[in-house]
C-alpha cells in the first residue's frame, strides 16, 4: 500500500532522513517508534505530500507522492503532530469545512458526519467551539477530520501525546478499531503504545531505520537475553563482582550495597543459558544467602534503548 524506497530528506545541511526503505501492507498498522527528532515527523510529512523527499521515491497505492500528489492526498487522512485546529470555529463548522474541501457532499456528507461523530464520540461537543474543548476532545476532532472522507490510509503523528492515561487508552482503542479496515501509520516515542496497537514496529533513530519487525520479533532480536535481579546476604561486593565476571554467560549490569549490607545486583543472562544450578552452588560455596532471585525478559523498551543509544 505504501512503498518507501531509499528516501532521504535534507533541511539545508541537516539530513533528517537518510536512505530509508520500508513498505506498509494493506490493512496493516505500522508503529513508528523513535526518540524525539529521529525523523518520524519528516517521514510522515513526505508521505502526506507536505513536502517532497530530496532523494528516493514514495508511492501510495501505486501513486507517486510528487507526480501524483492530488491522487495521494485523496487516499490519506492525516492527523499532524499536536493536532492543529481552527480555534475559533465550531466543531460542526470545522468538520463541514473539511468535508467541503474533501468534496464529501449531499447524502454522503450526512452519512459521513453521522459516522465520524459516532466513531469518535463527538456528539456531546458537536455544538461547541473548538477552543472550548479539552485536549482529549480536540484529539477526537482531529481524528474526525482525518476520517471524514473514509480514507484507505491514516497517517497519525503522535496521536496520544499530551493526553491523560484514560484518554490514551481511548485513542489506542480508536486506532485499533479504525485499523480493522484501514492501513495506518502512527508515530510515538512511547514503547507500550506500539506494543498495544501496532502489527509491526519500525524503530527509527537519527534518520535511519534501526530495526523493524513485530514487537515479538524485535524482542527476540535481543536474542532472548534475560534480566536477573538478585539480593544476597553475607556477600562481599568485590568478591561477587569477581565471581560474576569470571562466569561465561553472565554479565553485570549494576550492583549496589544496601544499608544493611545486603548486595543487590542486576545481571544479564545470555540467550539460552541456564545458570540456576551454578548460581546456587556458587552461593553455597561462598556461604551467601540468596534472599531474592527474579528473572525477567527484556521489554521492547530495552530494545529501544539499546538500539537508539
Amino acid at each position: 500500500m505504501i512503498d518507501v524506497q531509499n528516501v532521504s530528506k535534507s533541511y539545508g545541511a541537516v539530513e533528517a532522513v537518510k536512505d530509508v526503505s520500508f513498505t506498509v501492507e494493506q490493512g496493516e498498522i505500522l508503529g513508528f517508534l523513535g526518540p524525539n527528532g529521529a525523523g518520524k515527523t519528516t517521514m510522515m510529512k513526505m508521505i502526506t505530500c507536505y513536502m517532497p523527499p530530496t532523494g528516493g521515491k514514495i508511492t501510495v497505492d501505486g501513486l507517486d507522492v510528487v507526480n501524483d500528489s492530488m491522487g495521494v492526498r485523496k487516499k490519506i487522512g492525516y492527523l499532524p503532530e499536536s493536532t492543529p485546529l481552527y480555534e475559533e470555529m465550531g466543531v460542526r463548522d470545522y468538520l463541514n469545512f473539511i468535508a467541503d474541501v474533501r468534496k464529501v457532499n449531499g447524502a454522503d456528507r450526512t452519512r459521513a458526519m453521522d459516522r465520524v461523530i459516532s466513531v469518535t464520540g463527538l456528539a456531546k461537543v458537536i455544538h461547541k467551539d473548538i477552543h472550548e474543548l479539552s485536549k482529549g476532545f480536540r484529539q477526537r476532532v482531529g481524528f474526525a477530520q482525518a476520517i471524514i472522507h473514509d480514507p484507505e490510509i491514516l497517517v497519525l503523528d503522535e496521536p496520544t501525546t499530551g493526553l491523560d492515561p484514560n484518554q490514551i487508552i481511548e485513542i489506542r482503542n480508536l486506532i485499533r478499531q479504525l485499523g480493522e479496515s484501514k492501513t495506518i501509520i502512527f508515530s510515538t516515542h512511547i514503547m507500550q503504545e506500539v506494543q498495544a496497537t501496532s502489527d509491526r514496529v519500525l524503530i527509527i533513530d537519527q534518520g535511519k531505520i534501526a530495526a523493524q519487525g513485530t514487537a515479538e520479533e524485535l524482542k527476540a532480536s535481543i536474542a532472548g537475553q534475560m534480566h536477573l535481579n538478585m539480593v544476597l546476604r553475607h556477600a562481599d561486593k568485590s568478591k561477587f563482582i569477581e565471581v560474576v565476571t569470571a562466569m561465561d554467560q553472565l554479565h553485570m549490569e549494576d550492583i549496589k550495597v544496601q544499608k544493611n549490607g545486603d548486595i543487590e545486583a542486576a545481571l544479564i543472562i545470555d540467550a539460552g543459558a541456564d545458570l540456576r544450578e551454578q548460581l546456587f552452588d556458587l552461593a553455597v560455596s561462598n556461604q551467601w544467602k540468596i534472599l531474592e532471585s527474579s528473572p525477567s525478559s527484556f521489554t521492547l523498551e530495552d530494545v529501544f534503548r539499546k538500539l537508539t543509544n
Partner: protein, 239 residues
C-alpha cells in the same frame, strides 16, 4: 472551483463569527466619512460643491491602514496555528487556497464600498453629481482596494506573526502608493517610477475615463501578489 468556495466560506465565517469584519468595516466608514464631510481646509459642508472626490482621496489613505488589517491573518494565522500543514495536505492546490482567501477579503471590501455609497446618494439629492465620474471613481477605488488586499495577503504568506504581516503589508502598499514621489524631474527613471506608482494610476480614474493601461496595471499587481503568496506557500517544498 468547489475547493476555492470551501476556503472562501470558511474565511467568511471566521470574519463574521468574530468582531473583525464589523470593526474593520465600521472604522473605515466612520473615519473616511468624517474626513470627507468635516475635516481639513475644504470640508464638504463648508465648500458646498457636489463633488465626492474627497471620499476616494481620504479613502485611499485610510484603506492603506485598513486593508492589511483584513488580510494580515489569512496565511500567518494558519502558520501560527499549524493548520496550514493540514490544509496543504488536502486535495487542494496552493493557488486555490490563495484565491479562496483573497475572494473573502474582496467581499469584505465590497461591503465597505457599499457603505461609502451613502455620500454620493445623499449628495445627489441636494446637488448635481457627475454620475460618469462617480462610476469611474468607484471602479478605480475597487481596484485600489483589491490591490491593497492582494499585497496584504502576500505579506501574510511570509510570516507566522500577524503584527509583522500587518506592518510589512502597510510598508509594501505605501512604497507602491508613493513611488511617483521618489524621483523628481522628467527623466526616464522618474517616468518609470511614476508609471509604477499606485497613486499615478489611481488618479486617472477621477477624470471619468477608464484607461486600459490603468486597469492592466492594477490587475498585474494583483496577479503578481497572488503568485507571490502561492509561491510562499510552496516554499515548504524546497526547505
Amino acid at each position: 472551483m468547489s475547493e476555492i468556495l470551501a476556503i472562501y466560506r470558511k474565511e467568511m465565517k471566521t470574519y463574521f463569527n468574530s468582531p473583525i469584519a464589523f470593526i474593520v468595516i465600521s472604522s473605515f466608514l466612520v473615519i473616511t466619512n468624517w474626513l470627507f464631510f468635516d475635516y481639513g481646509d475644504y470640508p464638504f459642508f463648508a465648500i458646498n460643491i457636489a463633488d465626492i472626490r474627497g471620499i476616494f482621496d481620504y479613502g485611499a489613505i485610510v484603506l492603506l491602514f485598513i486593508a492589511p488589517a483584513v488580510s494580515m491573518r489569512l496565511i500567518s494565522e494558519e502558520k501560527h496555528q499549524d493548520t496550514l500543514e493540514l490544509l496543504v495536505t488536502m486535495p487542494i492546490t496552493d493557488m486555490q487556497i490563495i484565491i479562496g482567501k483573497y475572494l473573502s477579503t474582496l467581499v469584505i471590501f465590497a461591503i465597505i464600498l457599499a457603505g461609502t455609497l451613502i455620500a454620493p446618494i445623499s449628495i445627489s439629492f441636494v446637488g448635481d453629481l457627475d454620475s460618469g465620474i462617480v462610476i469611474s471613481s468607484y471602479i478605480g477605488f475597487f481596484f485600489l482596494g483589491a490591490t491593497y488586499l492582494a499585497m496584504g495577503l502576500a505579506a501574510s504568506s511570509f510570516t507566522r506573526n500577524q503584527i509583522i504581516a500587518y506592518i510589512v503589508g502597510i510598508v509594501i502598499i505605501a512604497v507602491f502608493f508613493l513611488m511617483n514621489g521618489m524621483a523628481n524631474g522628467s527623466g526616464m527613471i522618474a517616468t518609470l517610477f511614476e508609471n509604477l506608482s499606485i497613486r499615478f494610476h489611481y488618479q486617472n480614474f477621477f477624470r471619468g475615463v477608464l484607461d486600459t493601461r490603468d486597469l492592466i496595471y492594477f490587475i498585474s499587481l494583483i496577479f503578481v501578489s497572488l503568485l507571490v503568496s502561492s509561491t510562499a506557500l510552496a516554499s515548504r517544498k524546497s526547505k
